[in-house]
Amino acid sequence: MAEQVTEPRQDSKAEPEAPLRRPIAARRHMGDAVPERAEYVFELDGVTASYHGKAAVRDISLRIARNDITALIGPSGCGKSTLIRCLNRMNDLIPGASVEGKVLYHGQDLYADGVDAVEVRKLIGMVFQKPNPFPKSIYDNIAFGPRVLGMKDDLEDRVEQALRHAALWDEVKDRLKTNAFTMSGGQQQRLCIARCLAVNPDAILMDEPCSALDPISTGKIEDLMLELKKEYSIVIVTHNMQQAGRVSDRTAFLMVELDAQEKHRTGRLVEFDETEKIFTNPTDQRTEEYVTGKVG
């Protein structure tokens, strides 16, 4: 089994003595280059997500392993958010959005005809860039999910467990009935994570969860992620390369390209590999340029 990388990463500089400049060939299954894992949560095959016919990401193929933290990195506009929202069918909410290709979740096609997006989202949770607690008390925020999904037994226990899981219990246990907006930004985001955990998901998607937070809160949430991955599979979109290096097991690097046929910008998968390799010894020159900061 491949090693789990947990120490903070330094920004690596590519050795000039051993340049690796392989031609940039489009590879169908990036996942094939990566060592096999026991189980995959998501398997993407040729996924193209478009808005009103214009592709935001094109031809993405990779396999996300269970109990991994998988990071999606890349410059602005490369479609990372679009891609992650395909994994729990949140893209359905945007008018004009469409998805081609296959998205398999534990072998089940998420976009098959009979599949209800509501059921999908019960298993795959999401945390958003800007913390979005409901305008209710802390307790009601966490209890909302179980209540609407019919998990009404032992509600108090569930709430407590979720808050403990999110490392928030000690800070709020005395004020569960106060309004969620009275919390700090970092606490609100952990509340959103707890809210997500309360419905027992299997995977958690995080779309730049720390970009609106201060460094201390960010650190707390990164620690939380490392704890959570023991039970959940986590996919995280991040602008912060160091963060990807710190927490993720595998990293996918996406880039914007000018789509030859349609003359607009599209995101493509450049490289997907063990995080250590992406940051110390990437295969693709573009990856290297991005992670070393030569290209933003």
């Binding site: 909410l93 019960k122 409901f134 909302f144 609407v148 959103c192 809210r195």
Partner: protein, 288 residues
């Protein structure tokens, strides 16, 4: 140099003119209020509120009119709240605005908001009082007619309140696996209630002062009883006021103070409603 003097003089003169115009409006409003209070304040008493109309001006009161108005407002509210809120939810959360039938609904609401109120009375006469429903000149017909008149106010206010709820709240709910209706019922609607309530009160404030539709729908002018049921004949404050204004006064019976008294009762009701609306807005309105 002189050019800038005339320019300044013109500027100041213009500003004074504008202020004068605004002052004229303030003056008229003030005159109106003073006149009404002067004419009618002496009328206000417990007896006035508790007596029925009578040709004997000394004994006449607004009881039937006041209860009639309250009944009308009740029926109106029971109609406009569910229908208005449901329409607002449909238009904001479900309707695809590219479809022609949804645009038709929107255009309709805009147009209806500007139809003269007496035309609503004619509509009520044709369909509610006579015609298909044939309810007769009863308080239910009056309440529903007023409801149709002010429904656009509730719909427009409701839509604004729902639109003000940020999409991130809806996303957060849906991402947990809630259905669309669960999201609306448990997150969006509760958050929009202050705005909706303000809209309902605004609508009722309009409805309470409407006279013309009630005339056409057949509100009685001389009634000595309170409404006993939805199928009761009825009168209302504006109708009673109109009746008293229209009666020629003589030395024995002077109806003018009665009309002013009735107007004061109406205005006090209106002020109370607006005060509630303002209180609601200040206490509960959320700045997202």
């Amino acid at each position: 140099m002189s050019a800038s003097w005339t320019a300044r003089a013109k500027d100041l003169g213009f500003r004074a003119l504008l202020l004068g115009c605004v002052g004229l409006c303030v003056l008229l409003l003030g005159l109106l209020l003073v006149d009404i209070v002067r004419d009618g304040a002496g009328q206000l008493s417990f007896d006035f509120l508790n007596s029925f109309a009578s040709t004997n001006a000394g004994q006449a009161g607004v009881e039937a009119a006041l209860t009639g108005t309250l009944w009308l407002m009740g029926i109106c509210a029971v109609f406009i709240v569910p229908v208005g809120v449901a329409s607002a939810i449909y238009l904001e959360e479900y309707a695809d605005s590219t479809k022609w039938w949804n645009r038709l609904i929107e255009v309709n609401i805009q147009n209806l908001a500007a139809v003269p109120s007496i035309v609503y009375g004619i509509l009520g006469l044709a369909f509610l009082v006579r015609g298909p429903l044939s309810l007769g000149n009863v308080v239910l017909a009056g309440g529903l007619t007023l409801g149709l008149l002010v429904l656009p106010v509730v719909i427009i206010a409701g839509r604004e309140a729902i639109r003000a709820v940020p999409p991130s709240i809806r996303e957060g709910s849906l991402a947990l696996g809630a259905t669309k209706w669960q999201t609306i019922w448990k997150q969006v609607l509760p958050a929009s209630i202050p705005g909706i309530a303000t809209g309902v009160i605004l609508a009722l404030s309009r409805a309470i002062g409407e006279t013309a539709p009630l005339i056409v729908v057949g509100a009685a002018t001389f009634i000595a009883f309170n409404p006993e049921g939805l199928d009761s004949q009825f009168t209302a404050l504006p109708i009673q006021i109109f009746d008293w204004i229209s009666r020629p006064s003589n030395d024995v019976n002077n109806y003018k103070p009665l009309a002013a008294g009735g107007i004061l009762v109406l205005m006090i009701l209106l002020m109370a409603m607006n005060a509630v609306a303002i209180w609601l807005r200040n206490r509960y309105e959320r700045k997202w």
